[in-house]
């Protein structure tokens, strides 16, 4: 199960759910039980205005529900109409606000029934209109209009399709993938545990669970985007180059990638800062050596690359590697083989490289200090961490994370004192 911060609700990702049925407010004493069961099974804290009752402590997200239609509380005799402008106002309100209340994601339903609310249509689900055939065809879904409008005004806001129309999934995918929306979550699930797993998986895939360890703390959109890319690339075997200024969290991000991919790799995951290598031993450290290769080589020794065979090797401070070592590293990436220092037999390896640097590698390439052909091979996926000055809204989260870490450290010290 995904470990998410609990205790402080403000730290939970806040999502907006636009759905005619669940966003409907019944009025009077009756609560919207469809919404209640959906939230309860997925451990979602419902923040919609009509909710009363007790709060639990094990939520994975907060949600506000909006009907996407007028009136929100419909009575018999009312005519329900779709409301793009009203919906955009709600989206806007939760986007131009403090970071902790900003929408982390919008879930959009597809079918929105319109028309008159009759006694019969409202009998089962209060405020539900009669609907018509037009509301039920994937090409004419109001959800498509909504997604287009939200995409247009908020291009960076993640959108997830919420639907019970699994039988039309192919047609829906065709319509919506053009708008960059590929995530589709079913409205109902066979069991609560499947429901929770699907929902939490969706949050994770969209980078909405910032970081279980709290090392990379923050809620800024730019950070969440990097975390989402990091999660996606962690599931692949592509080489990754992490870039960013000093102190932006490159190493924690690399550790997060290694942690996520740890379930899929057969070999070990090794981390090493290239700045720690001494000039004379760097080749031996990386590629290993055989006995007699140099004066102090008294026995055969595996290098880091061989030791990480079948797994991942994280190289921090990549820009400090000498051109000779860069050339050898290039050969390893190209041919998946290398030779130990002093040996001639090639050794086959399968290693995924994760590298990090704060240096402008393109400038180093121009100046001849970094191999032009190594850069694109390491840079298969490039993750650029934004500097803290561009995401000052993350400051409170960072401060909290640091205080927590210091608190843990002090507890450990206190434990050691007799």
């Amino acid at each position: 199960m995904i470990d998410v911060p609990t205790g402080s609700f403000a730290s939970l990702p806040r999502i907006l759910v636009i759905d005619d049925q669940w966003g409907s407010i019944y009025g009077g004493k009756r609560a919207n039980q469809d919404r209640f069961t959906w939230c309860d099974e997925r451990r979602i804290l419902d923040e919609t205005e009509d909710v009363r009752g007790h709060r639990k402590s094990d939520y994975v997200a907060r949600a506000v529900f909006f009907r996407g239609q007028r009136p929100v509380t419909a009575k018999v005799g009312d005519i329900v109409v779709n409301d793009i402008q009203g919906t955009l106002d709600v989206v806007r309100g939760g986007w131009n606000c403090v970071a902790e209340n900003r929408w982390a994601c919008v879930f959009v339903d597809l079918e929105f029934l319109t028309g008159s609310v009759t006694k019969e249509s409202s009998e089962i689900i209060p405020g539900m209109p009669v609907g018509c055939e037009r509301d039920r065809t994937p090409e004419a879904y109001f959800g498509l209009d909504l997604i287009r409008a939200i995409r247009n005004e908020f291009p960076r806001l993640p959108i997830v399709i919420l639907s019970s129309n699994e039988e039309h999934k192919d047609r829906i995918d065709e319509q919506y993938s053009r708008l960059g929306v590929r995530e589709f979550i079913a409205k109902s699930a066979e069991t609560p545990s499947i429901a929770l797993k699907e929902f939490a998986g969706c949050l994770e895939r969209n980078g909405l669970i910032p970081d279980p360890s709290g090392v990379i703390a923050g809620r800024s959109v730019s950070l969440l985007e990097v975390l989402k890319q990091a999660r996606l690339v962690a599931w692949s075997r592509a080489n990754v180059l992490i870039r960013g200024e000093s102190g932006t969290g490159k190493e924690p991000l690399a550790q997060l990638i290694l942690k996520i991919s740890s379930n899929q790799v057969a070999g070990p995951q090794i981390s090493q800062s290239c700045a720690d290598f001494s000039d004379s031993l760097v080749e031996s450290e990386l590629f290993g050596h055989v006995k007699g290769a140099f004066t102090s080589a008294i026995s055969d020794r595996k290098g880091l690359i061989e030791a990480a065979n079948g797994g991942d090797l994280f190289l921090d401070e990549l820009g400090t590697l000498s051109p000779t070592v860069q050339s050898k590293l290039l050969r390893v990436i190209e041919s998946q083989a290398f030779t130990r220092v002093g040996d001639y037999k090639p050794i086959k390896v399968e290693v995924r490289f994760v590298a990090a640097t704060n240096e402008p590698l393109e400038d180093l390439v121009r100046e001849g200090d970094f191999r032009h052909d190594l850069l694109p091979r390491l840079n298969v996926v490039s993750l650029i961490l934004p500097p803290l000055r561009d995401r000052l809204e993350d400051m409170p989260y960072l401060v909290k994370a640091i205080i927590k870490r210091l608190g843990d450290f002090e507890t450990k010290i206190a434990d050691m004192v007799p």
Partner: protein, 185 residues
């Protein structure tokens, strides 16, 4: 009644009501009384017993109607109302449409029979569950909940089967027809 009306009523029953509302709440309630009756929110239980569970009484009639009238939507006879078959001379078109429909009704009878059986199974399961719940204390205490769980699960199973059958009804009829035509070829 026209085809669109049938499709709208089927859509409202199967999608809007059964899949998005009734089945979801029923599944939640069964899960709670099966595994953790003490966690069941009393307000939810009261609302479920009073407003939700009993909805089947009214919807059963709609389900029976949808199944009985299914042939109007599915019958190949409707193809003769549209171009190009509609251009056939009346003296050919009408007997041909009638013959096609008769043949189709025979060949798809088992599908409509299955749907009818599913609705009746759900009626029976509902009756058994209501009998078990009658005169029981509310909210259900753990002992009562345990006694009702088999009936509740049975009803939930019937409900899920009915949803599947109603979803498959138009598709299965078409597939069956196509498959049998191919087999005859």
């Amino acid at each position: 009644m026209n085809v669109e009306e049938w499709a709208t009523i089927r859509g409202n029953l199967c999608h809007q009501w059964l899949a998005n509302h009734y089945l979801q709440q029923l599944r939640y309630w069964v899960e709670k009384i099966s595994n953790s009756p003490e966690d069941l929110c009393p307000e939810f239980e009261e609302d479920f017993m009073q407003f939700t569970l009993t909805q089947w009484v009214r919807k059963s009639r709609v389900a029976h109607w949808v199944v009985e009238k299914a042939h109007v939507e599915l019958s190949p006879k409707s193809c003769f109302l549209d171009v190009p078959l509609a251009r056939l001379p009346k003296e050919i078109r009408e007997p041909l449409a009638g013959a096609c429909e008769k043949l189709w009704l025979v060949r798809t009878a088992h599908l409509r029979e299955l749907a009818r059986k599913r609705v009746e199974e759900m009626d029976d399961a509902y009756e058994r569950l209501i009998c078990c719940l009658r005169d029981r204390p509310r909210p259900l205490d753990p002992k009562t909940a345990t006694q009702c769980v088999p009936y509740a699960k049975d009803f939930l199973g019937s409900c899920a089967e009915l949803k599947r059958t109603l979803e498959d009804l138009p598709r299965l009829a078409g597939t069956s027809w196509d498959m049998e035509m191919q087999a005859d070829d």
